[in-house]
Amino acid sequence: MSETIAMVLAGGQGSRLSILSEHRAKPAVPFGSNYRIIDFVLSNIMHSGIPYAGILTQYKPYSLMAHIGSGESWGFTSRQSVLKILPPYRGTTAGDWYAGTADAICQNLSFISRFDVDMVLVLSGDHIYNMNYSDLVEFHKRHKADVTIATQPVPWEETARFGVLKSDKSGRIEGFQEKPKSDPISNQANLGIYVFRRAFLEERLREDAQDPASTHDFGKDLIPKMVGESRCYAFEFSHYWRDVGTLESYWEANMECLNPRGGLDLDAWRVHTNWTDEPSHFHMPSHIYGNGTIVNALVGKGSSVRGRVINSILFRGVEVQEGAEVRDSVLMDGVRVCSGARVSRLIADKYAEIGVRSVVGEKETDAPPPNFEHPDLLASGLTLIGRYTKTPENCRIGLNCLVYPDLGPECFPAEGLSSGGSICNHPG
């Protein structure tokens, strides 16, 4: 695959992940106990034998850059392989913030031109899937395509969330709609995985850069124009693929780690991560003391469990104290659930602490209201607690609640937080 370079779009904020992506880019959001979201695409690149990769960053890149490092964790160590982080830059003639996904690639055409490659793979850094890109590239070559787009059928009622494309028997794309509000032409969704003939991509990007009406986005601007004019092909990818763009889908995909038969098989996928930028106490076996009950759960490295853990994903260094119960929850690195506390349907960011005998996510009514501030983000009964926040003892927090990061117990009202409520650290 030395004729291919991979360009990974990792600059997005992922605003629908709310406070999880407030401090970090979406691809750097922790996932599946041991990983960050971008590990999946980087491991795919590694296992596909692609020797060159550029990672385009923009939004809060620090966690991401620290995590990617030199790319060594994904085998980018020899002189024949290159992984570079490509932040926005300014120069004498050009350079600005990346205006869109296409603009980000366009501004880095000079990076691509350093390599003797025929094909450019454009990927998103925020999807969970396991794919060998060689199959896609082979398909692309066989059809002498200008661009090949990986697709997957989605339920018809969800087509409005995706770009959908219609193709003929040979795979040639005949029609494309970006997020159709009504009358979708197909339920084959664009997965945001593209392989372009390099000269074709360069030409189209330069053209698009000159177009003042364009938002410089692949899905919105470039792909619709290409369809019909150029040799565009669809490559159906039928295995597990998730865009974990919302809190609900993020929680669900985490839970899917518990059922390898459902398609997400962390062990079989051989996902690699950079563990060297994590503290060494996160690299310990998990210790179960006494008669801790653990049912259908991942218990992260260096975690200690003295209570009950049911249907949950514990990240590294999580502490579940005696008499505590964790149910249907995603608890990130260093979270502590103090003795006697009960949590369910909770997403807790790093180092959050649930106080002694506190109760989080317990239903008070049959139909808990969506979050009053962000009904679009939190309506399915999850509760989100930001990093480093500590809840007080004996505190009750309902469903669809949003608790911001860095809050101490004194920030909580004495009566607790009923469903749909928020506690903010922003003034006002």
Partner: protein, 417 residues
């Protein structure tokens, strides 16, 4: 620790671990999940800021060489720090093996001299303790000592003949030192095997040994004479220190760690180890199935627990199938325990397959106090076929396939412990 080099003694012959050390040095033995015994000493040296470390290897060094590599896990791979593996070699008129610890140091004396070391720290590779050597060095220099011996009270319940006894007089001065006496003295202050030597004096003693002595054992040929003729001091170690001479003590110590009864805790002390081995760093978190039952156990990354695990240590990648029971056992990397299998008091090396419904070993009467004959040991990559029953106290050789028809009395095939 400027002007100090450390030498790690890792070349000695091992007995007491049966089939587990038939293909590896004891210091390379897996420990508490994904660690190895040598990790304690290497972590101590790294955290104490020792910049030049030599490791004497001779006996079955393969695993140890793989594990230490360029010392990256312990930050010994930087421009001003290094770790050097020192195997025996021919040349300079010698064609023989290291004859003992002192001989090994003698033959690598240029490491001490080239680094212009003022002091030499000598440690054993297979002792378990967490310690910063810097206060010991400060004491050593303040006192102008020729040798400083780190001492500890003799660990309870261990064979008194295994230790070197240190008689301490006024202000920490060592007045008598006797290594592994047949008649141990009344007191119980013993050497931890951690010695700090003045470099020039150590070298002089080694030259003398080379000319005059047939003994090549560091405590007797170097330490004892210095105690008699020079300035020897003791430096008591306040923490928990362990020497695990045999597999029984190894299992009993794991049981203490499981219950959190030792002040040593590899997790809280953040002992460093090589996570590149078998891709340990990227393995997924352990998964506990809907029917799993786990009690007082340590479960490593990559494990899948669907059955019952009690008072046991699972190294990375161990799979315990539904209805299987693992009790009072230690299973090394990537073992598979099939449905309905029962393992009790078992220590199994890596990559062993226990097929369904096999039964191996018997429960430990007292897990904190394990006696000879109570453990069942399985060698690396062995396979125990479906329904096979292996009695307590047996030892399955490396790569052995054990079928139901297996003749346990066939000489040389499967030995009793």
């Amino acid at each position: 620790m400027r002007n100090t080099v450390a030498l790690v003694l890792a070349g000695g012959v091992n007995v007491g671990y049966s089939v587990l050390t038939h293909n590896r040095a004891k210091s390379a033995l897996p420990f508490f999940g994904h660690f190895r015994l040598v990790d304690f000493v290497l972590t101590n040296l790294s955290r104490s800021g020792v910049n030049n470390v030599g490791v004497m290897i001779q006996y079955l060094p393969g695993s140890l060489i793989d594990h230490i590599g360029i010392g990256r896990a312990w930050d010994f791979d930087s421009t001003n720090r290094r770790i050097k593996l020192m195997p025996p070699f021919v040349g300079m008129g010698r064609t023989d093996w290291y004859r003992g610890s002192a001989d090994a140091i003698y033959r690598n004396m240029d490491f001490i001299q080239n680094n212009q070391a003022h002091d030499v720290l000598v440690v054993c590779a297979d002792h378990v303790y967490c310690m910063d050597y810097r206060p010991m060095l400060n004491l050593h220099r303040e006192r102008g000592a020729d040798v400083t011996i780190m001492t500890t009270p003799r660990p309870q319940g261990t064979d008194p003949r295994h230790y070197g006894y240190v008689t301490v007089g006024d202000r920490g001065r060592v007045v008598d030192f006797v290594e592994k006496p047949s008649q141990p003295p009344e007191h119980d202050v013993v050497s931890t095997g951690v010695y700090l030597f003045r470099a020039d004096l150590l070298c002089d003693r080694l030259y003398d040994m080379q000319r005059m002595s047939s003994d090549h054992h560091l405590p007797t040929v170097v330490v004892e004479p210095i105690v008699r003729e020079g300035r020897a001091f003791a430096c008591p170690f306040e923490g928990d220190w362990h020497y695990l001479p045999d597999i029984e003590s190894y299992v009993a110590f794991h049981q203490r760690l499981l219950r959190g009864e030792s002040t040593i805790s590899p997790d809280h002390d953040s002992v460093l180890t090589d996570l590149r081995d078998r891709d340990l760093g990227s393995r997924p978190a352990p998964y506990f199935g809907p029917l799993s039952e786990v009690e007082d156990s340590l479960v490593s990354p990559g494990c899948v627990v669907e059955g019952k695990v009690v008072r046991s240590v699972l190294s990375p990648g161990v799979h315990v199938a539904p209805k299987a029971v693992v009790r009072d056992s230690i299973l090394f990397h990537d073992c598979f325990v099939g449905q309905g299998a029962r393992l009790e008091g078992v220590v199994s090396d890596k990559d062993v397959r226990f097929d369904s419904f096999c039964r191996v070993g018997a429960p430990l009467p007292d897990p904190a106090n394990v006696r000879a004959g109570q453990l069942t040991v399985v060698g690396k990559s062995a396979r125990i076929m479906q329904g096979v029953v292996i009695e307590v106290g047996r030892e399955v050789p490396i790569r052995q396939v054990v079928t139901r028809e297996w003749d346990w009395n066939m000489p040389g095939s499967i030995a009793r412990l």
